[in-house]
Amino acid sequence: MVIFRIVEMTSRAVGTSWPAELAAVLGPDSVITDPARLRTYECDGLTGYRVVPAAVALPRSTEEVAAAVGVCARHGISFVARGAGTGLSGGALPVADGIVISLQRLRRILHVDPVNLRAVVEPGVTNLDISRAAASHGLYYAPDPSSQQVCTIGGNVAENSGGAHCLKYGFTVNHVLAAEVVLADGTVTTLGGQSQHLPGFDLLGAFVGSEGTLGIVTQVTVRLLAKPAQVRTMVADFATVAAAGDAVTAIVAAGIVPAAVEMLDNLAIQAVGASTRSVYTADTAAALVVELDGPPDDVAELFDDVQRICRDQGSTKIMVAADAEERALIWQGRKAAFAAVGRISPNYFVQDGVVPRGRLAEVLGRIAAMADEAGIRVANVFHAGDGNLHPLVLYSEADGEHDRAERLSTEIAELCVELGGSLSGEHGIGADKACSMPRMFGEDDLATMLRLREAFDPAGLCNPGKVFPTPRLCGERPGPYRPHPLETAGVIERL
């Protein structure tokens, strides 16, 4: 029953003088307590969950973060770190009576080191700004979430975010060398280091992907890569989603490691078509975006191979980006797809399940059948090369489709686990999928994870209620997911 301890500890009495103390250490301009203003912080990219915090702190330096956390520690107040609030699993969802610590005022790029191929940045710097700062040296930061122009490196570290190019280059965890963090008692420490081969436990590895439950990142040293000598990109259309799925399997089976393989189905293409200068074929059932990079000769050869495989798999049309501008348009469409779905549907849920690559065609077929049965449209736009699905379940709140869509969405996630995959590829567990964790992990597994968490944060003040199932959210007994009474009543919702 260790699992329940966190929640009990967070409900400790809240002192009265802490807002004044916060204002004293940060300055009154950096603490928000006004009710209307606080409401703008009540949710992140997943708006179905909302909790109004007691205060928001906007520190400007590591010292100020440590001071704010120190106040929390002394008064037993929970705190939740917040980057750009683009998370899709409710990771930055505030805790009632707790404070939100926004890292949006720590946005300096401290150092770009082109010799050792690294950059030192503050946590509020956006993912894309790191690449922009490195561009003049011919370098870039590889992980590229679709939200890269807005999401912060701190959020990326917390979520171990991925992106289209993580197929070849790996996730955030493969590109972070060191992180300065403020622990839950207010101490500042550095995990990792300049060398990639440090003896002892990989504490940095444990921290990356911990979803803000182990401490607050205040400085990150990331690895930079040289821009590849050659990049070539194509969009291959297919007459069915299954054929596109088979093509992905065939490309990978041929031993080719593309920089990216992304899939969009027709609904997603429609959404993108409504928003940007779309380069996608409006009426194709599915499109694969395949990008290869590396030395020009290798790229040329493999690019031909990929085109041949796509044709063998029945591709109806292949469009090759003629220049950098056309490539940018392809990616712009792909990366805007999530939000563009807002144009074709009033509401939507986005899932993040992973399936073994070989089962892509199968899972897409089953999702389509489930969608038909539920009478709900599902758009697909995802990292096909990783088998990381992002089914977007489209519905209209006003037409009373919410419950049906929600059920379908949960069933899709569970289907992924059933097919030997995972609940989440890159968006994290957060508040959203915490109750589903027992579907993937036994009680022992969860208890072990919790011990690690408690080693960092024994008082359980740091982003409580996330990742691990709690009785408050999931009902009295942990175990296979069942709807919480609040959910049944429609007060809270899951994706």
């Binding site: 209307a36 703008t40 912080y41 609030g85 926004s102 122009q149 928003s275 939000a339 807002g342 009033p346």
Partner: protein
């Protein structure tokens, strides 16, 4: 739901428009106020959230709400940045008048706003103010006052206005243009030119250059004399009735002339004139006429983009940093045409400015009512411009010219793009084109 809303029933922001926001945050990095202070309530996403809450009646229309609506520059950088197609332009335009009606302003804010609207849209009064400002500068009064620290002791808002006054030349103040400028050579178009209220007084040179270039390219240019302010500043500040009144009057004035297009050289005026249809949609006597008028409005660079250059351009060797005025780039989607226009001059090298999408802080009367934020943005913009080491800065909006000039530390020539073309056609060096 509607009975609980905090907005009154006169054109509140619509639920459908609010629902388009999916809270993805893609707009955040383009928003100048968010870039400055990193607070959610001062971001497009946060402002939409506040509007949404007010629409549901969950928060009142009070000073908290107005603070974050007022701090919005209306630069509309968030509109093209939004993948979900949120019409923030319509949202903010719907909310500003609601704030204006329901939230009492502080005394100093009220005074400043009243003063601004008593002067800026009225050429005669502005002329007096400008001459006063001119003498004030000419007599070295400004310098001595500044030395004495008097200026520094003025409230920030007053200081902002003082620092904005351009070094006006007497001639351009009182120069009146002919009512009709005939086309040079065969006539290709007949257009009517908006003089602009502040533009006419402070940047008469730009109007003269515009008329000359249009004529040189085969346009007959009509300049309706009796024209008054287009109401852009009022609209921008949520003074809806005043804006509508001015719009009606301008339509009346221009309808008397049979033209192919109404040409504007001030981005802010052009963007609001293109929205007259929306503004007057509930007025049966004007709705159709307003829509027709709006459809005939063109920025001068749009008109010239359609007319393949006929007049010879002399060479001007200059590196020109082009600054996208928000109301041209974001509001009207006009980015390419002014650059092409500049490039039509041999010898001109056009450079883009880093952080181009971030507003310079001018934004209508913003620099007068929100001086601190405007100052920070102005400095940031000037630094970005200077990082490209230009000889000339070109931008198509009077407000931007004023604002940027105030913060540049190096000696660069500031012009409207049309002045570059004018100088090239006339074969005079840039910066000496004033007659």
């Amino acid at each position: 739901m509607t009975e609980r809303t905090s907005f009154d029933s006169h054109r509140p922001p619509s639920r459908e428009l609010l629902d388009d926001c999916v809270h993805c945050g893609f707009c955040l990095p383009t928003c100048p106020t968010y870039v400055i202070n990193g607070e959610e309530m001062d971001s497009p996403r946060g402002r939409i959230y506040l509007m949404d809450l007010a629409e549901r009646g969950e928060i009142p229309l009070d000073r908290t709400m107005s603070a974050h609506i007022d701090s919005c520059l209306g630069c509309l950088a968030c509109v093209p940045a939004c993948p979900s197609g949120v019409r923030y332009d319509l949202l903010i335009e719907a909310v500003r008048p609601q704030i204006e009606r329901h939230v009492p302003r502080t005394r100093i804010d009220r005074l400043v706003r009243r003063a601004v609207f008593a002067v800026f849209p009225h050429p005669a009064r502005l002329r007096v103010a400008a001459v006063a400002g001119l003498l004030y500068r000419r007599l070295g009064l400004a310098a001595s006052l500044r030395r004495l620290g008097v200026v520094r002791r003025l409230p920030a808002q007053v200081r902002a206005a003082e620092e904005l006054l351009p070094p006006v030349r007497f001639r351009s103040l009182f120069g009146r243009m002919d009512a009709v400028v005939p086309a040079v050579g065969e006539r290709r178009m007949r257009v009517a030119l908006l003089e602009g209220c502040a533009q006419r007084v402070l940047f008469g040179d730009v109007n003269a250059a515009t008329a000359r270039v249009l004529a040189a390219e085969g346009c007959e240019v009509v300049v309706p004399r009796e024209q008054q302010c287009c109401g852009a500043l009022s609209m921008h500040a949520g003074r809806e009735d005043e804006a509508a009144r001015r719009a009606r009057r301008l339509i009346d004035t221009f309808e008397r002339h049979e033209v192919d297009a109404v040409v504007v050289n001030v981005a802010g005026c052009g963007s609001s004139m293109k929205e007259y249809g929306e503004l007057l949609r509930d007025d049966p006597a004007y709705a159709d006429r307003a829509a027709r008028f709006a459809a005939s409005v063109r920025d001068v660079s749009e008109v010239l983009a359609q007319l393949p250059p006929r007049a010879e351009r002399h060479r001007i060797d200059a590196r020109i940093a082009y600054h996208d005025a928000c109301h041209l780039g974001n509001a009207q989607g006009i980015r390419q045409q002014p650059r092409d226009l500049l490039r039509s001059v041999p010898g001109v090298e056009v450079t883009d400015i880093p952080e181009a999408s971030i507003c310079c802080g001018s934004a209508g009367i913003y620099n007068l009512v929100q001086p601190d934020a405007a100052e920070e943005l102005g400095r940031r913009k000037a630094a970005a411009i200077e990082s490209t080491a230009p000889d000339v800065v070109a931008t198509a909006n009077a407000g931007c010219l004023l604002q940027v000039r105030r913060f540049l530390t190096t000696d660069v020539t500031l012009v409207h793009p049309i002045q570059v073309v004018d100088a090239a056609i006339r074969g005079v060096p840039l910066g000496e084109e004033r007659r």
